[in-house]
Protein backbone atom coordinates (compact mmCIF):
# COMPACT_ATOMS: atom_id res chain seq x y z
CA UNK A 1 0.00 0.00 0.00
CA UNK A 2 2.88 2.35 0.79
CA UNK A 3 6.32 2.50 -0.82
CA UNK A 4 7.85 1.55 2.55
CA UNK A 5 5.72 -1.62 2.72
CA UNK A 6 7.74 -4.82 2.12
CA UNK A 7 5.37 -5.84 -0.70
CA UNK A 8 5.85 -2.62 -2.65
CA UNK A 9 7.45 -2.84 -6.10
CA UNK A 10 8.22 0.19 -8.26
CA UNK A 11 6.41 -1.10 -11.34
CA UNK A 12 3.73 0.39 -13.58
CA UNK A 13 0.95 -1.65 -11.94
CA UNK A 14 1.65 -0.33 -8.45
CA UNK A 15 2.11 3.20 -9.71
CA UNK A 16 -1.18 3.26 -11.65
CA UNK A 17 -3.27 1.50 -8.99
CA UNK A 18 -1.94 3.34 -5.98
CA UNK A 19 -1.39 6.58 -7.91
CA UNK A 20 -5.12 6.58 -8.68
CA UNK A 21 -6.02 5.74 -5.09
CA UNK A 22 -3.82 8.42 -3.52
CA UNK A 23 -4.90 10.95 -6.16
CA UNK A 24 -8.56 10.45 -5.18
CA UNK A 25 -7.84 10.31 -1.44
CA UNK A 26 -5.63 13.43 -1.76
CA UNK A 27 -8.31 15.47 -3.53
CA UNK A 28 -11.02 14.44 -1.06
CA UNK A 29 -8.81 15.12 1.97
CA UNK A 30 -7.57 18.45 0.65
CA UNK A 31 -11.12 19.50 -0.19
CA UNK A 32 -12.43 18.59 3.24
CA UNK A 33 -9.53 20.25 5.07
CA UNK A 34 -10.12 23.41 3.02
CA UNK A 35 -13.87 23.60 3.75
CA UNK A 36 -13.41 22.84 7.47
CA UNK A 37 -10.71 25.51 7.88
CA UNK A 38 -12.73 28.02 5.85
CA UNK A 39 -15.86 27.28 7.91
CA UNK A 40 -13.86 27.80 11.13
CA UNK A 41 -12.45 31.06 9.73
CA UNK A 42 -15.90 32.28 8.61
CA UNK A 43 -17.40 31.40 12.02
CA UNK A 44 -14.68 33.28 13.88
CA UNK A 45 -14.93 36.30 11.56
CA UNK A 46 -18.70 36.39 12.03
CA UNK A 47 -18.41 36.14 15.79
CA UNK A 48 -15.80 38.94 15.89
CA UNK A 49 -17.98 41.14 13.67
CA UNK A 50 -21.05 40.45 15.82
CA UNK A 51 -19.21 41.24 19.04
CA UNK A 52 -17.85 44.44 17.42
CA UNK A 53 -21.34 45.55 16.44
CA UNK A 54 -22.73 44.90 19.92
CA UNK A 55 -20.18 47.28 21.56
Amino acid sequence: MFPFSFEWVWDIGHMIFFGGLWYAVGILSAGMIYVILKAAWDTMSESINNSGESH
Partner: protein
Protein backbone atom coordinates in the same frame (compact mmCIF):
# COMPACT_ATOMS: atom_id res chain seq x y z
CA UNK B 1 -42.60 16.09 20.04
CA UNK B 2 -39.92 16.28 17.36
CA UNK B 3 -41.43 19.26 15.53
CA UNK B 4 -38.35 21.40 16.25
CA UNK B 5 -36.32 19.08 14.00
CA UNK B 6 -38.76 19.00 11.08
CA UNK B 7 -37.93 21.39 8.19
CA UNK B 8 -39.70 24.72 8.44
CA UNK B 9 -43.04 24.84 6.65
CA UNK B 10 -43.06 21.08 6.01
CA UNK B 11 -45.84 18.85 7.25
CA UNK B 12 -44.99 15.37 8.55
CA UNK B 13 -47.01 12.58 10.14
CA UNK B 14 -47.18 12.33 13.93
CA UNK B 15 -44.20 10.84 15.78
CA UNK B 16 -46.13 7.75 17.04
CA UNK B 17 -47.29 6.95 13.48
CA UNK B 18 -43.75 7.42 12.19
CA UNK B 19 -42.36 5.26 15.01
CA UNK B 20 -44.77 2.41 14.23
CA UNK B 21 -43.68 2.45 10.59
CA UNK B 22 -40.03 2.47 11.59
CA UNK B 23 -40.60 -0.39 14.03
CA UNK B 24 -42.18 -2.57 11.33
CA UNK B 25 -39.31 -1.97 8.90
CA UNK B 26 -36.88 -2.25 11.82
CA UNK B 27 -38.12 -5.78 12.52
CA UNK B 28 -37.20 -6.78 8.96
CA UNK B 29 -33.83 -5.09 9.44
CA UNK B 30 -33.22 -7.09 12.63
CA UNK B 31 -34.04 -10.32 10.76
CA UNK B 32 -31.27 -9.40 8.28
CA UNK B 33 -28.87 -8.44 11.07
CA UNK B 34 -29.51 -11.82 12.76
CA UNK B 35 -28.66 -13.63 9.49
CA UNK B 36 -25.61 -11.41 9.07
CA UNK B 37 -24.28 -12.37 12.49
CA UNK B 38 -24.94 -16.04 11.71
CA UNK B 39 -22.77 -15.70 8.61
CA UNK B 40 -20.05 -13.93 10.56
CA UNK B 41 -19.99 -16.22 13.59
CA UNK B 42 -20.79 -19.58 11.98
CA UNK B 43 -19.19 -18.93 8.59
CA UNK B 44 -20.21 -19.09 4.94
CA UNK B 45 -21.60 -22.61 5.43
CA UNK B 46 -24.79 -20.70 6.28
CA UNK B 47 -25.15 -19.99 2.56
CA UNK B 48 -25.88 -22.26 -0.39
CA UNK B 49 -22.76 -21.12 -2.19
CA UNK B 50 -20.55 -23.95 -3.40
CA UNK B 51 -17.72 -24.65 -5.83
CA UNK B 52 -19.94 -23.62 -8.75
CA UNK B 53 -21.26 -20.54 -7.04
CA UNK B 54 -18.42 -18.62 -5.46
CA UNK B 55 -20.37 -15.54 -6.54
CA UNK B 56 -24.05 -15.82 -5.68
CA UNK B 57 -27.08 -13.80 -4.58
CA UNK B 58 -24.99 -11.29 -2.62
CA UNK B 59 -22.79 -10.40 -5.55
CA UNK B 60 -25.86 -9.98 -7.75
CA UNK B 61 -27.37 -7.69 -5.08
CA UNK B 62 -24.05 -5.88 -4.82
CA UNK B 63 -23.81 -5.26 -8.56
CA UNK B 64 -27.50 -4.37 -8.79
CA UNK B 65 -27.40 -1.72 -6.03
CA UNK B 66 -24.21 -0.27 -7.49
CA UNK B 67 -25.87 -0.07 -10.92
CA UNK B 68 -29.07 1.58 -9.70
CA UNK B 69 -27.00 3.78 -7.37
CA UNK B 70 -25.29 5.10 -10.52
CA UNK B 71 -28.00 7.76 -10.60
CA UNK B 72 -26.05 9.65 -7.94
CA UNK B 73 -22.82 10.01 -9.88
CA UNK B 74 -24.52 10.67 -13.21
CA UNK B 75 -27.03 13.18 -11.83
CA UNK B 76 -24.21 14.79 -9.80
CA UNK B 77 -22.08 15.06 -12.94
CA UNK B 78 -24.95 16.65 -14.88
CA UNK B 79 -25.77 19.05 -12.03
CA UNK B 80 -22.30 20.21 -11.02
CA UNK B 81 -20.07 19.67 -14.06
CA UNK B 82 -22.56 20.31 -16.90
CA UNK B 83 -24.36 22.84 -14.66
CA UNK B 84 -27.94 21.72 -15.45
CA UNK B 85 -29.71 23.90 -12.91
CA UNK B 86 -33.09 22.11 -12.88
CA UNK B 87 -31.45 19.04 -11.35
CA UNK B 88 -30.67 20.92 -8.12
CA UNK B 89 -34.24 20.00 -7.15
CA UNK B 90 -33.57 16.28 -7.17
CA UNK B 91 -29.81 16.03 -6.56
CA UNK B 92 -30.17 15.76 -2.75
CA UNK B 93 -32.41 12.74 -3.11
CA UNK B 94 -30.18 11.20 -5.80
CA UNK B 95 -27.24 11.52 -3.38
CA UNK B 96 -29.20 9.90 -0.53
CA UNK B 97 -30.20 7.00 -2.80
CA UNK B 98 -26.58 6.65 -3.91
CA UNK B 99 -25.40 6.75 -0.30
CA UNK B 100 -27.84 3.97 0.62
CA UNK B 101 -26.87 1.90 -2.40
CA UNK B 102 -23.12 2.17 -1.86
CA UNK B 103 -23.24 1.66 1.92
CA UNK B 104 -25.40 -1.41 1.20
CA UNK B 105 -22.86 -2.64 -1.34
CA UNK B 106 -20.06 -2.30 1.23
CA UNK B 107 -22.19 -4.05 3.87
CA UNK B 108 -22.91 -6.93 1.49
CA UNK B 109 -19.19 -7.25 0.72
CA UNK B 110 -18.42 -7.23 4.45
CA UNK B 111 -20.75 -10.22 4.85
CA UNK B 112 -19.56 -11.92 1.66
CA UNK B 113 -15.89 -11.95 2.57
CA UNK B 114 -16.84 -14.05 5.60
CA UNK B 115 -14.03 -12.60 7.70
CA UNK B 116 -14.71 -8.83 7.83
CA UNK B 117 -11.89 -8.22 10.30
CA UNK B 118 -9.55 -8.86 7.38
CA UNK B 119 -11.38 -6.51 5.02
CA UNK B 120 -8.45 -4.09 5.10
CA UNK B 121 -6.18 -6.73 3.49
CA UNK B 122 -7.52 -5.71 0.07
CA UNK B 123 -5.87 -2.31 0.57
CA UNK B 124 -2.76 -3.33 2.47
CA UNK B 125 -1.93 -6.47 0.48
CA UNK B 126 -3.44 -5.27 -2.80
CA UNK B 127 -3.37 -7.59 -5.80
CA UNK B 128 -2.70 -5.03 -8.49
CA UNK B 129 -3.58 -7.52 -11.25
CA UNK B 130 -7.18 -7.82 -10.05
CA UNK B 131 -10.04 -5.69 -11.35
CA UNK B 132 -11.76 -6.35 -8.02
CA UNK B 133 -8.93 -4.50 -6.25
CA UNK B 134 -9.69 -1.48 -8.39
CA UNK B 135 -13.38 -1.94 -7.57
CA UNK B 136 -12.60 -2.02 -3.83
CA UNK B 137 -10.47 1.14 -4.08
CA UNK B 138 -13.02 3.06 -6.16
CA UNK B 139 -16.02 1.80 -4.18
CA UNK B 140 -14.53 2.91 -0.86
CA UNK B 141 -13.42 6.28 -2.21
CA UNK B 142 -16.73 6.88 -3.96
CA UNK B 143 -18.60 6.06 -0.77
CA UNK B 144 -16.48 8.78 0.86
CA UNK B 145 -17.56 11.14 -1.95
CA UNK B 146 -21.23 10.31 -1.37
CA UNK B 147 -20.80 10.87 2.37
CA UNK B 148 -19.24 14.26 1.63
CA UNK B 149 -22.13 15.08 -0.73
CA UNK B 150 -24.68 13.99 1.91
CA UNK B 151 -23.14 15.97 4.81
CA UNK B 152 -24.35 19.45 3.69
CA UNK B 153 -27.92 18.16 3.52
CA UNK B 154 -27.62 16.79 7.08
CA UNK B 155 -26.12 20.08 8.29
CA UNK B 156 -29.10 21.94 6.79
CA UNK B 157 -31.36 20.32 9.37
CA UNK B 158 -33.31 23.06 11.13
CA UNK B 159 -31.45 22.70 14.43
CA UNK B 160 -27.98 21.83 13.10
CA UNK B 161 -28.08 24.83 10.78
CA UNK B 162 -28.43 27.14 13.80
CA UNK B 163 -24.85 26.25 14.79
CA UNK B 164 -22.73 28.85 12.92
CA UNK B 165 -19.87 26.46 12.16
CA UNK B 166 -22.23 23.87 10.65
CA UNK B 167 -24.00 26.57 8.66
CA UNK B 168 -20.71 27.80 7.16
CA UNK B 169 -19.44 24.26 6.62
CA UNK B 170 -22.55 23.31 4.61
CA UNK B 171 -22.28 26.54 2.61
CA UNK B 172 -18.57 26.03 1.85
CA UNK B 173 -19.08 22.39 0.91
CA UNK B 174 -21.72 23.43 -1.62
CA UNK B 175 -19.17 25.92 -2.96
CA UNK B 176 -16.62 23.30 -3.98
CA UNK B 177 -19.03 20.43 -4.65
CA UNK B 178 -17.99 20.43 -8.31
CA UNK B 179 -14.57 19.05 -7.27
CA UNK B 180 -16.14 16.24 -5.24
CA UNK B 181 -18.63 15.50 -8.04
CA UNK B 182 -15.84 15.32 -10.63
CA UNK B 183 -13.86 12.96 -8.39
CA UNK B 184 -17.01 10.88 -7.93
CA UNK B 185 -17.58 10.67 -11.69
CA UNK B 186 -13.94 9.58 -12.21
CA UNK B 187 -14.21 6.89 -9.52
CA UNK B 188 -17.62 5.69 -10.72
CA UNK B 189 -16.47 5.35 -14.31
CA UNK B 190 -13.74 2.96 -13.21
CA UNK B 191 -15.53 0.88 -10.59
CA UNK B 192 -18.73 0.47 -12.60
CA UNK B 193 -16.56 -0.50 -15.54
CA UNK B 194 -14.33 -2.86 -13.64
CA UNK B 195 -17.34 -4.75 -12.29
CA UNK B 196 -18.26 -5.43 -15.91
CA UNK B 197 -14.63 -6.04 -16.76
CA UNK B 198 -14.47 -8.88 -14.23
CA UNK B 199 -17.06 -10.80 -16.29
CA UNK B 200 -15.52 -9.86 -19.63
CA UNK B 201 -12.05 -11.21 -18.83
CA UNK B 202 -13.25 -14.63 -17.64
CA UNK B 203 -11.62 -16.59 -20.45
CA UNK B 204 -12.79 -19.86 -18.92
CA UNK B 205 -16.42 -18.76 -19.15
CA UNK B 206 -17.47 -18.38 -22.81
CA UNK B 207 -20.84 -16.97 -21.76
CA UNK B 208 -19.15 -13.90 -20.29
CA UNK B 209 -15.89 -13.34 -22.12
CA UNK B 210 -15.71 -10.46 -24.61
CA UNK B 211 -13.17 -8.79 -26.85
CA UNK B 212 -12.50 -5.15 -26.09
CA UNK B 213 -10.29 -2.12 -26.27
CA UNK B 214 -6.72 -2.49 -24.94
CA UNK B 215 -7.08 -4.14 -21.49
CA UNK B 216 -10.80 -3.35 -21.17
CA UNK B 217 -13.41 -5.83 -22.46
CA UNK B 218 -16.60 -4.34 -23.93
CA UNK B 219 -18.46 -5.28 -20.75
CA UNK B 220 -16.36 -2.63 -18.96
CA UNK B 221 -17.96 0.14 -21.03
CA UNK B 222 -21.41 -1.46 -21.08
CA UNK B 223 -21.57 -1.60 -17.27
CA UNK B 224 -20.64 2.06 -16.86
CA UNK B 225 -23.04 3.06 -19.61
CA UNK B 226 -25.93 1.01 -18.19
CA UNK B 227 -25.42 2.43 -14.68
CA UNK B 228 -25.51 5.99 -16.06
CA UNK B 229 -28.59 5.10 -18.15
CA UNK B 230 -30.72 3.21 -15.65
CA UNK B 231 -29.50 4.90 -12.43
CA UNK B 232 -31.55 8.08 -13.06
CA UNK B 233 -34.59 5.88 -13.79
CA UNK B 234 -34.20 4.31 -10.35
CA UNK B 235 -33.88 7.76 -8.79
CA UNK B 236 -37.18 8.71 -10.46
CA UNK B 237 -38.77 5.45 -9.32
CA UNK B 238 -37.83 5.98 -5.67
CA UNK B 239 -38.96 9.61 -5.91
CA UNK B 240 -42.33 8.44 -7.23
CA UNK B 241 -42.63 5.85 -4.44
CA UNK B 242 -41.83 8.53 -1.85
CA UNK B 243 -44.47 10.80 -3.38
CA UNK B 244 -47.09 8.03 -3.25
CA UNK B 245 -46.27 7.09 0.36
CA UNK B 246 -46.21 10.68 1.59
CA UNK B 247 -49.19 11.71 -0.55
CA UNK B 248 -47.32 14.82 -1.70
CA UNK B 249 -45.81 16.15 -4.88
CA UNK B 250 -42.12 16.60 -4.14
CA UNK B 251 -40.48 17.41 -7.47
CA UNK B 252 -41.87 19.55 -10.31
CA UNK B 253 -42.81 17.85 -13.56
CA UNK B 254 -40.23 19.72 -15.65
CA UNK B 255 -37.41 18.24 -13.50
CA UNK B 256 -38.86 14.73 -13.74
CA UNK B 257 -39.34 15.07 -17.51
CA UNK B 258 -35.77 16.29 -17.97
CA UNK B 259 -34.21 13.45 -15.97
CA UNK B 260 -36.50 10.92 -17.68
CA UNK B 261 -35.47 12.29 -21.09
CA UNK B 262 -31.75 12.05 -20.23
CA UNK B 263 -32.25 8.53 -18.88
CA UNK B 264 -34.22 7.58 -22.00
CA UNK B 265 -31.53 8.71 -24.43
CA UNK B 266 -28.86 6.98 -22.37
CA UNK B 267 -30.95 3.76 -22.36
CA UNK B 268 -31.47 3.92 -26.14
CA UNK B 269 -27.77 4.42 -26.88
CA UNK B 270 -26.82 1.77 -24.33
CA UNK B 271 -29.27 -0.79 -25.70
CA UNK B 272 -27.98 -0.25 -29.27
CA UNK B 273 -24.44 -0.94 -28.00
CA UNK B 274 -25.72 -3.94 -26.03
CA UNK B 275 -27.48 -5.40 -29.09
CA UNK B 276 -24.33 -4.99 -31.21
CA UNK B 277 -22.27 -6.60 -28.42
CA UNK B 278 -24.71 -9.51 -28.10
CA UNK B 279 -24.83 -10.16 -31.86
CA UNK B 280 -21.03 -10.07 -32.15
CA UNK B 281 -20.67 -12.37 -29.14
CA UNK B 282 -23.31 -14.80 -30.46
CA UNK B 283 -21.97 -14.99 -34.02
CA UNK B 284 -18.22 -14.45 -33.58
CA UNK B 285 -16.90 -14.75 -30.02
CA UNK B 286 -18.83 -17.79 -28.76
CA UNK B 287 -18.45 -19.83 -32.01
CA UNK B 288 -14.70 -19.10 -32.00
CA UNK B 289 -14.59 -20.78 -28.59
CA UNK B 290 -16.59 -23.78 -29.82
CA UNK B 291 -20.06 -22.83 -28.55
CA UNK B 292 -23.39 -22.18 -30.26
CA UNK B 293 -25.80 -19.57 -28.91
CA UNK B 294 -28.34 -22.31 -28.11
CA UNK B 295 -25.86 -23.85 -25.65
CA UNK B 296 -26.39 -20.93 -23.27
CA UNK B 297 -30.19 -20.88 -23.38
CA UNK B 298 -31.45 -24.47 -23.70
CA UNK B 299 -31.36 -27.83 -21.90
CA UNK B 300 -32.21 -26.39 -18.50
CA UNK B 301 -35.34 -25.59 -16.54
CA UNK B 302 -34.76 -21.88 -15.96
CA UNK B 303 -32.45 -20.01 -18.31
CA UNK B 304 -34.13 -19.77 -21.72
CA UNK B 305 -34.18 -17.22 -24.54
CA UNK B 306 -36.87 -15.47 -22.52
CA UNK B 307 -34.22 -13.91 -20.27
CA UNK B 308 -32.34 -12.42 -23.23
CA UNK B 309 -35.56 -11.06 -24.78
CA UNK B 310 -36.75 -9.69 -21.42
CA UNK B 311 -33.48 -7.91 -20.75
CA UNK B 312 -32.96 -6.39 -24.18
CA UNK B 313 -36.45 -5.89 -25.60
CA UNK B 314 -38.95 -5.60 -22.73
CA UNK B 315 -36.63 -3.92 -20.23
CA UNK B 316 -34.37 -2.11 -22.70
CA UNK B 317 -35.94 -1.10 -26.01
CA UNK B 318 -39.43 -0.53 -24.53
CA UNK B 319 -38.44 1.82 -21.63
CA UNK B 320 -35.91 3.58 -23.87
CA UNK B 321 -38.58 4.27 -26.50
CA UNK B 322 -41.15 5.40 -23.91
CA UNK B 323 -38.73 7.84 -22.29
CA UNK B 324 -37.37 9.26 -25.54
CA UNK B 325 -40.76 10.07 -27.13
CA UNK B 326 -42.13 13.29 -25.58
CA UNK B 327 -45.82 12.28 -25.49
CA UNK B 328 -45.18 8.93 -23.77
CA UNK B 329 -42.52 10.38 -21.46
CA UNK B 330 -44.94 13.03 -20.18
CA UNK B 331 -47.68 10.46 -19.58
CA UNK B 332 -47.28 9.61 -15.85
CA UNK B 333 -48.47 6.01 -16.18
CA UNK B 334 -46.28 5.15 -19.16
CA UNK B 335 -43.32 6.91 -17.56
CA UNK B 336 -43.79 4.86 -14.40
CA UNK B 337 -43.96 1.67 -16.48
CA UNK B 338 -40.74 2.68 -18.26
CA UNK B 339 -38.75 3.43 -15.11
CA UNK B 340 -39.94 0.19 -13.47
CA UNK B 341 -38.98 -1.81 -16.58
CA UNK B 342 -35.64 -0.01 -16.76
CA UNK B 343 -34.82 -0.79 -13.13
CA UNK B 344 -35.77 -4.45 -13.63
CA UNK B 345 -33.70 -4.48 -16.84
CA UNK B 346 -30.42 -3.40 -15.25
CA UNK B 347 -30.94 -5.75 -12.28
CA UNK B 348 -31.65 -8.59 -14.73
CA UNK B 349 -28.48 -7.74 -16.66
CA UNK B 350 -26.45 -8.03 -13.45
CA UNK B 351 -28.21 -11.32 -12.61
CA UNK B 352 -27.24 -12.73 -16.00
CA UNK B 353 -23.65 -11.51 -15.67
CA UNK B 354 -23.26 -12.99 -12.18
CA UNK B 355 -25.49 -16.05 -11.90
CA UNK B 356 -26.19 -17.30 -15.41
CA UNK B 357 -22.43 -17.28 -15.99
CA UNK B 358 -22.03 -19.73 -13.11
CA UNK B 359 -24.92 -21.92 -14.24
CA UNK B 360 -23.84 -22.52 -17.84
CA UNK B 361 -21.90 -25.80 -18.30
CA UNK B 362 -18.38 -25.24 -19.63
CA UNK B 363 -16.76 -28.68 -19.81
CA UNK B 364 -18.28 -31.57 -21.82
CA UNK B 365 -19.02 -33.50 -18.63
CA UNK B 366 -20.67 -30.49 -16.92
CA UNK B 367 -24.39 -29.99 -16.46
CA UNK B 368 -26.39 -26.86 -15.75
CA UNK B 369 -25.88 -25.89 -12.11
CA UNK B 370 -28.92 -24.10 -10.74
CA UNK B 371 -28.78 -22.40 -7.38
CA UNK B 372 -31.31 -21.52 -4.70
CA UNK B 373 -30.11 -19.15 -1.97
CA UNK B 374 -30.45 -20.05 1.72
CA UNK B 375 -32.73 -17.99 3.99
CA UNK B 376 -29.64 -16.34 5.48
CA UNK B 377 -28.66 -15.09 2.04
CA UNK B 378 -32.19 -13.83 1.37
CA UNK B 379 -32.38 -12.11 4.78
CA UNK B 380 -29.03 -10.38 4.34
CA UNK B 381 -30.11 -9.27 0.85
CA UNK B 382 -33.38 -7.86 2.22
CA UNK B 383 -31.43 -6.11 5.02
CA UNK B 384 -30.17 -3.24 2.79
CA UNK B 385 -33.72 -2.68 1.49
CA UNK B 386 -35.02 -2.23 5.06
CA UNK B 387 -32.05 -0.03 5.90
CA UNK B 388 -32.71 2.07 2.79
CA UNK B 389 -36.38 2.57 3.64
CA UNK B 390 -35.47 3.66 7.18
CA UNK B 391 -32.79 6.08 6.03
CA UNK B 392 -35.05 7.64 3.40
CA UNK B 393 -37.83 7.97 6.00
CA UNK B 394 -35.48 9.67 8.47
CA UNK B 395 -33.96 11.94 5.82
CA UNK B 396 -37.38 12.94 4.46
CA UNK B 397 -38.70 13.66 7.96
CA UNK B 398 -35.82 15.70 9.30
CA UNK B 399 -33.87 17.10 6.35
CA UNK B 400 -34.75 19.59 3.60
CA UNK B 401 -34.33 16.97 0.87
CA UNK B 402 -36.75 18.38 -1.70
CA UNK B 403 -36.30 22.15 -2.25
CA UNK B 404 -39.64 22.38 -4.14
CA UNK B 405 -41.74 20.57 -1.53
CA UNK B 406 -42.94 23.71 0.26
CA UNK B 407 -43.94 25.45 -2.96
CA UNK B 408 -45.70 22.40 -4.38
CA UNK B 409 -47.67 21.67 -1.22
CA UNK B 410 -48.52 25.11 0.10
CA UNK B 411 -52.14 25.56 1.12
CA UNK B 412 -53.78 28.03 -1.26
CA UNK B 413 -55.74 30.83 0.48
CA UNK B 414 -59.47 30.58 -0.16
CA UNK B 415 -60.63 33.50 -2.28
CA UNK B 416 -64.13 35.00 -2.22
CA UNK B 417 -65.01 33.68 -5.66
CA UNK B 418 -64.30 30.14 -4.40
Amino acid sequence: MDSALIPEGAKRCSLPKFSIGMAIVGAVLLWGVWAMFLCWFKGLNQTNMNDYYGFALWIWADLAVIAVGGGAFFTGMLRYIFNIKELKNIINFAVIIGFICYSSALLILAIDIGQPLRGWFIFWHANIHSMLTEVAFCLSCYFAVLTIEFIPNILENRQANKVPFFHHLAHNMHGIMVIFAATGAFLSFFHQGSLGGVAGVMYGRPFAVREGLLIWPWTFFLFTWSAAAYGPSFTLLVTKMTEVITGKKLVKDNVVHLLAKISGWMIVTYIIAKIIDTIYWAYVTAPSLGFKLSHFYTDNSFYGYWILITEIVICGIVPGAILVIKSTRENPTLRLVAIILGTIGVCLNRWVMVLQIMAVPVMPFDTWALYIPSWQEVATTVLPVAYGIMLIALAYRYLPVFPQEKELNSVKPITESE
